[in-house]
Symmetry: C2
Subunit: 136 residues, 2 copies
Amino acid sequence: MTATRMTRQRAALLDALRDGGFRSAQGWHERLRADGSTVGLATVYRGLQALSESGEVDTVVTDSGETLYRHCGPGEDEHGHHHHLRCRECGRAVDIDVPGFETIVAELASHHGYRDISHTIELSGVCPECAAAARD
Amino acid sequence: MTATRMTRQRAALLDALRDGGFRSAQGWHERLRADGSTVGLATVYRGLQALSESGEVDTVVTDSGETLYRHCGPGEDEHGHHHHLRCRECGRAVDIDVPGFETIVAELASHHGYRDISHTIELSGVCPECAAAARD
DNA sequence: GTCGTTCTGCGAATGATTATCACTAGGCGT
DNA sequence: ACGCCTAGTGATAATCATTCGCAGAACGAC
């Protein structure tokens, strides 16, 4: 089996990840270095990728094409499909729930004969704090 | 003012674009070459970018990070914000309308105090034809 | 046809991500 | 505690989509 070892780097990543908010892979890398950990960029990418596959981090892709990562449910919610409302400025995000959306999507899909539907909802805006800050 | 000239390349792009379906920039480029036009890749990128800004093409970003382009409303529907159900296999897409979604989003946003909300909905699946073809 | 601008094409540059590969270090068995 | 085996690490090279820079070509108004 594929044993996953808990290394110093991985622990550091998980730890940093814990303070919520979306950050790019390189962003998390910087943060780790800032915290004193000597972690390679490649390792951060690998770690984030692994975590995203195991469902421990969510990922979103920005307009500019970079992938943002964020710590999410510990793992026990395999069903836990939810969405985010992310702040364009600071990356802070709140989990949201769009009632009935999944159902509507399923109906639309079958209506058109499409199968194996997957959906992505990306909501972004400016959070109260950043809006206030921007107002100067 | 910024006069937009109708060049051979741009015409060819618009023409190719007309047969619907999402394709990557490089995909459209290939198609143009296949049709006999000698167009540079950079030109295709520039053209698609311009068209997307003027609202004549829709863009979506795939998981792998490439941007797909597709001809859309001639331009008169500035309000025409709609979504797509795209086939993962052939790129064919149908326009869909998620009733009430915009409203729900607006409510959620204001509930959390977020402003200037923008949203993206990405629906993809396998269309009937491709599903049948895949079934062999 | 002439001219000023915009557009095109090419290749080089960028930026994010992934692969490579020799080396380090978890961690299980003893 | 000791060693071994393998997964993990890190620096760098490679990849891939996209953008830039610039010399020359092509629009289209006069």
